[in-house]
Every structure is written in C-alpha cells, then in structure tokens.
Assembly symmetry: C2
Homo-oligomer: 171 residues x 2
C-alpha cells in the first residue's frame, strides 16, 4: 500500500525532497510578514471571485478574511516564522482540518492554478522562492487529495495476527 | 460548535498558549538529538511491554523501531530541529495519521502516563523543559481525541445558503 507521501509524490510529480526544500532557507526572514499577507490576499480574492462555481462553493461557508488569516499564519509558521497558526488554532493537522471539503484531483489543480497566479501577482517574491513554494504547494495539494481518500476507507478492526494487513476481526 | 483546539484545551486542562510554549526556546538546541532518541526509546519500551493489553494492542501492527523513529523525528522537527520527519514522511498530519487508531480519553491518559515515566527516565531533560514538553504532550493528546471524534461524524452536504451551518442539501 502506498503511503500518503508516496501518493503525493506520484500524483503531483514533486518528490518530498523538493517539496521540503522550503526548509533549506528561511523564507519568512527572506520575504517578511507583509509578503505572506499579500500572497494569501491575492489568492483568496481570486478564489472567492472564481468563475468556476463548483470550486468557489467549496469556500462558501468560510469568511474570506478568516481564510486569508488561516492561510498566511500557516505559511509563516511552516516557512520559518513565528508559530502564529498554532498559538491561535493548535496543530495544523492538514488532513483533519480539510476533512469537510471535497479535495479532489480537480480541486487540487484549481487551487494550484489560483496560487500560481497569486504568486505572479506578488512581485516581492523572488524567482527561486517562487519555485520552492510552488513545489511545496503542489506536493501538499496532492498530499491532501491522498488524505481525502481516507474518508472513504472503512475502519478495519484491529488485528493481532503477525502478517499485518489482515482483515479478520481480532479474537 | 467547539473547535479542535478548544476541545483540546477543555479536556486536557492545558491552554494553547501553554501547549505551544515549547516554541519560546529551541528545545532541540538545548537537548540535542540523542536525548530525543532516548526519550522515544524509553517511551516505546514501556508501551510495547505494557501490562494493559488493550493499550499495547493499539501498536501491535507497527514495528517498535519504526514507532521510535517516527516519534523522535517528529519531536525534533516540532521542537526547533531539522525537518527530519517531513523529509522522510511528508506533513505530520497528526489527525490524519492517527485515523487507524482508537484515540479515546482513556488511551490519551495511558499514553501520557507512559510519556511522564519516560521523561523521568531521561535525566538529560531539565525540569523546565519537562514541564513545557508535558504541556505540549497533554494538549496534543486531547487534540487527537477531538480529532478522533471526526471519524464518527457524517459528511454534511455542501450548502450554499448564507447562514452557514445549514444542513439541507444544496440545490
């Protein structure tokens, strides 16, 4: 069985080593808080105005301002800045928190399309940082598609055989 | 409706501000890699030998050596060290990755009991770091109990009304 990160790499075309190259430099120190706020504002302005109603509707129950803050606080925390997200909302728990939403391959691609455009609209982000961030976003989007599939998986009874993966109920 | 972190704070008795006080100092720099390896080794040695069969059986399909590595790599990454966990396994995704396991209040308390004993068996961890780490562990354990409850929640159809929280199917 493929792991979450193996599926993410296979589907996104971005290996974990490239996705987590964001950790090689401190992008928060390089770019600063305002750049992250601008990026998330550009991103969600596109999303909430998306002509694709099926995608826009995924966000219909969330306020735009909150969506922006949740996103930039997570990015800041994950890319070398202060842990703004966890101090306000606890662990990122990316799969758990995306559980209410239909994170399909199609939705991942639409999210990435808007993020690519949002990066283009944020001139304070240099080309190298853009590449690193897009690799992180692409891998993460498909990590969440892989996580979304867990919702449809039935819970298996815990098994005490030595083979693992056994589907019979434990005695 | 209470959020995940509100439930975690209420059930654990540890507010997010105290749980994430681990970020005020760099515990990895203070303690070093070997101390984290020792802590997780002490912890899982207790867990895999637990006289409480119901708790021990939760880990029956995982190898002890892998459980140790997964845990100390996550702790190292979360407490100021290099991102060992993500480079090997991707995002921590704490709720998603705990999905196969029954994370009940009782299981959280048993986990915390073993971790408290493991901390006591690791003399290289000073008293102040121990308090910070136990607060983080206690809050996180109940964050995962809150996350576990999501498994039993039915997916609600997405709703396009302006009120939010509406349970009727979208037109």
């Amino acid at each position: 069985m493929q792991s979450l990160q193996e599926k993410a790499a296979a589907w996104s075309g971005v290996e974990a080593a490239d996705a987590f190259a964001i950790d090689e430099t401190n992008l928060f120190q390089k770019l600063g808080l305002q750049t992250f706020i601008n990026l998330s504002t550009h991103f969600y302005t596109r999303v909430y105005d998306d002509e694709e109603e099926w995608f826009r509707s995924i966000f219909a129950n969330s306020k735009k301002e909150e969506a922006i803050q949740n996103q930039y606080e997570f990015f800041v925390q994950r890319m070398g800045g202060p842990p703004l997200y966890s101090q306000r909302r606890g662990h990122p728990a990316l799969i758990g928190r995306h559980r209410p939403f239909p994170v399909t391959h199609q939705a991942a691609e639409r999210w990435l399309h808007h993020m690519e455009k949002a990066l283009e609209s944020t001139p304070d982000i240099d080309a190298d940082s853009k590449v690193k961030m897009m690799n992180f976003f692409r891998h993460t989007a498909y990590f969440l598609v892989a996580g979304d599939e867990l919702k449809n998986k039935k819970q298996e009874p815990s098994c005490k055989c030595k083979h693992g993966g056994c589907k019979s109920a434990a005695p």
